[in-house]
């Protein structure tokens, strides 16, 4: 039987109330709870006080505003999967959400919680890195914006400090952009063995901007930066996609574990990056 250690529970009734409750380092935000509660049951997390933000409907939205896709931190995975707006601009979100956990878990797990959990195997971190999203972090003194590529400090660690709350994720919307996510897992609903997300902004057939995110292979900030640099300004061809994917596979640092040895994970990064780039390019053209 898995039992969390003793904990206190507070329920926030507004964002301001949540910020007032989140004073000490051992306070933890409780959103969907589908990562935090399992970790508490394993005693890998032992927060002193849980601040439940599930009632904060003001943080649960997905909309276009000022040329940006804006996703409230409390939007559920199922909301993102169901959002035609998100899928229209960034099909990568739908690709990824179809393979995040299972449909019941997706009803509760939140987009913001996924980012804040900072699990190296979590899918959305790589997706938001690929699309160059910005995290809006709310504190008692107001908001600060942090690029998602600077949001994670390491496994299970983010830049969010005591008394702060992830409020929103903003994604710039550009024309002629395509995106895709490709994942290999051992079984339905499992964590990635490896996964790759790609975003391509094309001008005619030239890559104007490329974003490549990698999941579960210890890529720094979930990004394949060297592969992105290689692609920028080059023709969007199969040959260049293969070369970029090879660079991505060389530069990540997969750790051998029960999901596979290092060479297999590198092979997956190469193949999945190629496939994601190919689909992203096709979607940018259509």
């Amino acid at each position: 039987m898995q039992v969390p250690s003793h904990v206190e529970y507070e329920r926030a009734t507004s964002v301001e109330h949540a910020l007032a409750l989140l004073g000490r380092p051992d306070h933890r935000v409780l959103a969907g709870g589908h990562s935090l509660i399992p970790m508490m049951k394993l005693r890998l997390a032992q927060p002193g006080v849980l601040v439940d933000i599930n009632g904060l409907a003001e943080l649960a939205y997905i909309r276009i505003e000022q040329g940006q896709l804006r996703i409230g931190a409390l939007a559920r995975h199922a909301d993102l999967l169901d959002s035609a707006t998100a899928g229209q601009h960034y099909p990568i979100f739908h690709d990824a959400e179809r393979v995040v956990a299972d449909p019941i878990v997706r009803l509760w797990g939140t987009v913001g919680g996924s980012l804040c959990q900072a699990d190296p195997s979590e899918d959305l971190s790589a997706v938001f890195a690929a699309v160059r999203a910005t995290a809006v972090i709310r504190g008692r003194d107001g908001d600060r914006e942090v690029p998602v590529r600077e949001f994670h400090l390491g496994p299970y660690e983010t830049v969010i400090g005591p008394g702060e709350l992830l409020a929103e994720i903003r994604v710039p919307v550009h024309p002629s952009t395509g995106s895709a996510y490709e994942k290999v897992a051992r079984r339905v609903g499992d964590w990635s063995v490896a996964a790759a997300g790609a975003v391509l902004r094309l001008q005619k057939q030239t890559v104007k901007q490329a974003g490549i995110g990698l999941t579960a292979v210890a890529a720094e900030h979930f990004v394949a930066a060297e592969a992105e640099d290689f692609l920028r300004g080059k023709p969007a061809t199969e040959e260049n996609f293969s070369k970029a994917a090879k660079i991505a596979a060389e530069h990540c640092r997969p750790i051998p574990d029960q999901r596979g040895p290092e060479d297999y994970k590198r092979h997956l990064v190469g193949e999945l990056t190629t496939r994601a780039l190919r689909r992203a390019a096709a979607r940018a053209a259509s």
């Binding site: 969390p4 508490m40 439940d52 299972d102 449909p103 878990v105 009803l107």
Partner: protein
């Protein structure tokens, strides 16, 4: 802390530890043992109940989170001695062998059918993909849900 949860239409108030999981609240505090405590890791789905209108794996939610909300368990499926079509479907199509996963399967199926009264087989398989049947009786479970969809009118709600 004191929590009050409307379980199957009845308010139930208990003094609980904030770390108490909803599945244990239902089974141990309220004696509603229809919901099963299975893998304890949100993988198997035997513990699925509805929290307000949304299915949840009750091993991965705190009873405290349900305070002031409503919970529906498998005990609430039959009404006035009349089985829910989903329950009847599991009988007709041999949808259970050992029965351990059945409460989660039925609560998830009921939720699906409320949203989509005529789901294709692929949709049923998709929505049940987060639930495990240790007898591996998936074919008959899917048939049972289809039976319920086809006989929604026969068995009065």
């Amino acid at each position: 802390m004191k929590v009050t949860v409307t379980v199957n239409g009845t308010d139930s108030a208990r003094d609980v530890e904030p770390r108490l999981l909803l599945i244990h609240f239902l089974r141990d505090e309220l004696g509603l043992t229809g919901s099963h405590w299975g893998c304890d890791t949100s993988n198997c789905g035997s513990c699925v109940v509805w929290l307000d209108e949304t299915p949840v794996k009750a091993c991965t939610v705190l009873a405290a989170m349900a305070d002031g909300r409503s919970v529906r368990t498998v005990e609430d499926l039959a009404k006035n001695g009349q089985l829910d079509p989903v329950q009847q479907g599991f009988i007709e199509c041999h949808g259970l062998q050992c029965g351990f996963c059945t409460p989660g399967m039925m609560m998830t199926a009921r939720w699906l059918l409320d949203r989509n009264p005529d789901p294709a087989e692929a949709e049923i398989r998709e929505v049940l993909s987060g639930l495990l049947c240790r007898c591996t009786g998936y074919e008959n479970i899917v048939r049972s849900v289809r039976w319920a969809a086809e006989h929604a009118e026969d068995t009065a709600k």
